[in-house]
Symmetry: none
Subunit: 529 residues, 2 copies
């Protein structure tokens, strides 16, 4: 079957979503992840409209090594009264250095009059000039025909004429956009079929989810011959979002048997990719999300569970491992115990004859998870729990007390000061330090206390600090979970803390992080002082 | 056009969702709301499997007065070795008193062998006996043919035979179920078309969302002649959920022009119904949800906004008020002056002749967004910025100083104490309060200071508190953005704060939230003290 070419626009159309704001570094990290998944085109931004996007393309040239994907820059057709070579927007597209350019233009006569305020002929000239100019500069050019389906309903001849103008100018792809997201699959199929008889250039489809039909509309277009699909990870985008590639990819690969990733194995990265983008964009993953959600293969009903254990095909449309997800049978303690034993063995702990203690520890972990802890992203905290239960582990220091004061006087900057008292290396140490905020002050005071005993602490630093509010509806009395990532330049480890108090949760994760470091690196021989 | 009959199964299939648990009172409240919306059938529960559901039907008989809906009770075909009149499950259905009964039976030969472990003929007898028994007792009977589409793919003759067995026994409806949720719209359309030529009884459609196609599959079935639609509010249900009635209803009414509610006016209750069910089920509303989401008609891109203000049809597939939602224009780094002017006009501010000041304010907003502020989720903070720039606005109180102390002594719980000094109502007020954490302590101290002057503060409380770490790679010295949502029981507003110090960011959002409240409610007349 013919390949379908995916264009991911998470970094461009996706950032139009309410509440989404990505830094340039975030965008580079996501681009890398999209390339790993095997996306063919990554639309990185709109350089003429956004200086941050210019910086993205500038940094991408040196920092981003792509194996599968080509970068695309997005822009509009030239302005009405300007030659293509003098149009600033088009110059910004060339300056981006992206080998592929996506150009949006008007396909609905109503918009040409109402929004652009030029004649129908002028709009066709703008399209063909723009495409020809970019082709002369050696770019692969995609023409996004905005509002194509609405336009086709009102004036099919004109809508098709915009595609033909782009085609005549040498465009590589024309994309039919359901910009307002209100079309139905039957309408999309009919229009794509009609367009295929009028143009020879390959056709792309770009849908929005306002009618909750973006995935179905995309598949309908592919079934009628579209060979490029635009969408975003998890469907993020303006209003109700774009077509969700995370749903489209497995439907193409597994249901329609249309390859769209470099190999079938790439599909196994789907769940990881979806969750990674949530993490970077600070979106709570949607538990019920098709294919990749935490609940997507979770079986709750008793009848379902017993049927599933005989034959998973009874209540699963696909095997979850094909998309990197896992089956979960809710209310199952046995799997927990075997996981925990596996982990202890990996750490070299002797758990023989300690099944009862393991069961108790498992209960403790379940209680902690119920309270909001999450050990999947905090293996170091989990190892410390196991060591405290089963190892002859002695912590390198003990916290006797801590105090943080943050204060502000009319208009001046806030100050933060932390005081900690530790038992370390047989002594009691009392230190004070300032910081940018309370947690930074605590970090500084802790290091100041430990440094004389364990100079290696200088090599360790925090690389990531995440705060997630659990039970958000409780307002400022809600619990928070803090995840801290640390490194000593060689290895990376993660710890977790949970509390109604953001300082306490941070402190817990911070102390665990340093304890773990001292355990691994120093093997806990205090230096002589 | 022929009416489509809606069957809502939020209270039965919806409760199979992971993390959903409804009390009997919750279920009665939701049933009332579904009836207000004009749903034709409400499937209230599975009385044979669940004593709580028996209680629901018992209480419904006296407490629930329905104007539009009929209650349906759900159960299985009789057990293999038992006569219908001796089957406990069927007796529980009759005892429920529900005038409508939904009976699920096997339609996939594989399941008859694998899960039920009876012969194909025995299964047909079970179906017809069960239907005939319930019809003899005067019930309206719906036969849910489980796994119909998977069954039809493997053994079409047998799948159809199960429907014919129900039809011959006098069933009122047969429902084709895509139980595993893996079918595609084209497959559904083809099967419904084939079935219509084999049975005369009206056909229902029941889909699940495992392929992200439940809404499209439902519409495909209706277009081929199905006249009953099963689904749940917001699509909640096992794994990835059921077909989402909140998306299906407006697609039927507005796109396919098929009436499914008592009057077109009932459609205006859609948004309220969706949010109500989230509230009762303790689910966070999905901001990007089609039709009813907070972001569903939110416009962010500058080009979009200037077009929308001329003619909303340019970037909206339907007018939001038809489904009880509202248009929102977001002011963000991607947007321009037109968004800001639109917003000021909505607030009733006179901006005539102040284009330069508006431009300056826009620059200020862009600078703040560059620093990490995000106003699109924090309209109240944005309104305060506009008021400070253009209104004759005086803040209800001024912060003179604040201090927070968080401390912990070896092993004991952490304590948090906040001290604030305000100028309010012509006086200087100095208060101290404790809290679960530093932000909660600040909230308490602030309220304590303000309450004597503005007793209305009692009616206001925080409903959401979000922390996002920006530039997470900076570790504990990174900037954080805090978003706070508050309500007084009538309206909801959101404010934002940004700082390297989580306490300062929270404090900023907290102070804005209270200032905004005092501005709106009290119109800032301090009470005499």
């Amino acid at each position: 079957m013919e390949r379908v070419w995916l264009l991911d626009t998470t970094l461009r159309d996706g950032t139009q979503a309410e509440g989404i704001s990505l830094t340039v570094t975030d965008k580079l990290r996501i681009a890398k992840k999209l390339d790993d998944l095997g996306i063919a085109y990554i639309e990185g931004g709109f350089p003429a409209a956004n200086p941050k996007d210019q910086e993205f393309f500038r940094r991408a040239r040196t920092e981003l090594v792509l194996r599968h994907a080509k970068l695309a820059a997005f822009g509009s057709t030239r302005r009405p009264s300007v030659r293509a070579e003098d149009d600033e927007g088009l110059r910004a597209l060339l300056a981006s250095g992206a080998p592929v350019v996506t150009i949006v233009g008007k396909a609905w006569d109503f918009h040409v009059h109402e929004a652009l305020r030029v004649s129908l002929e002028q709009n066709l000239d703008m399209i063909s000039d723009t495409v020809a100019f970019l082709k002369r500069h050696g770019r692969e050019v995609i023409f996004d025909a905005e509002h194509f389906f609405d336009g086709y309903r009102h004036n099919p001849e004109y809508a098709v004429a915009t595609l033909q103008a782009a085609e005549a100018a040498g465009v590589d792809w024309v994309t039919l956009c359901d910009t307002n997201g209100g079309s139905l699959p039957g309408q999309v199929a009919e229009v794509v079929r009609a367009v295929r008889s009028r143009v020879k250039v390959p056709i792309g489809i770009h849908t929005h989810n306002d009618g909750d039909l973006a995935v179905a509309n995309t598949l309908a277009a592919v079934e009628e011959g579209a060979t490029m699909v635009h969408g975003t990870i998890n469907g993020i985008g303006e209003r109700c979002g774009n077509a969700n590639l995370i749903s489209i990819i497995p439907n193409l690969e597994l249901k329609l048997r249309r390859p769209c990733l470099p190999t079938p194995d790439h599909l196994r990265l789907l769940t990881e990719t979806a969750r990674y983008v949530c993490e970077i964009a600070n979106l709570v993953p949607h538990s019920y999300q098709p294919f990749v959600g935490h609940s997507a293969f979770a079986h709750k009903g008793g009848i379902h569970v017993s049927a599933i254990s005989r034959n998973p095909e009874t209540y699963e449309h696909i095997p979850p491992e094909l998309v990197g997800n896992t089956r979960r049978v809710l209310v199952s303690e046995l799997s927990g115990l075997s996981n925990l034993l596996h982990r202890a063995q990996e750490m070299g702990l002797d758990t023989s004859g300690k099944t009862e203690e393991m069961r108790e520890l498992l209960q403790e972990i379940k209680r902690m998870e119920y309270e909001g802890y999450q050990f999947e992203g905090a293996e170091a905290s989990q190892e410390l729990l196991l060591l405290r239960a089963f190892g002859d582990y002695k912590e390198a220091f003990e916290v006797l007390s801590m105090r943080v004061v943050a204060s502000q006087h009319s208009g001046s900057d806030i100050t933060a000061e932390a005081i900690v008292k530790l038992a370390v290396g047989g002594q009691t140490v009392h230190t004070v330090a300032e910081g940018n905020g309370p947690v930074n002050a605590l970090d500084n005071a802790l290091r100041k206390a430990i440094q004389p005993f364990y100079p290696a602490i200088e090599t360790m630093h925090l690389t990531d600090y995440k705060v997630r509010v659990l039970d958000e509806k409780e307002g400022t009395a809600a619990k928070v979970r803090v995840l801290i990532e640390s490194t000593d330049g060689h290895q990376v480890w993660r710890t977790v803390g949970v509390s109604e108090n953001v300082i306490e949760a941070s402190w817990e994760a911070l102390v665990d992080s340093i304890q773990y470091f001292l355990l691994c690196v120093a093997k806990a021989q205090p230096a002589a002082v």
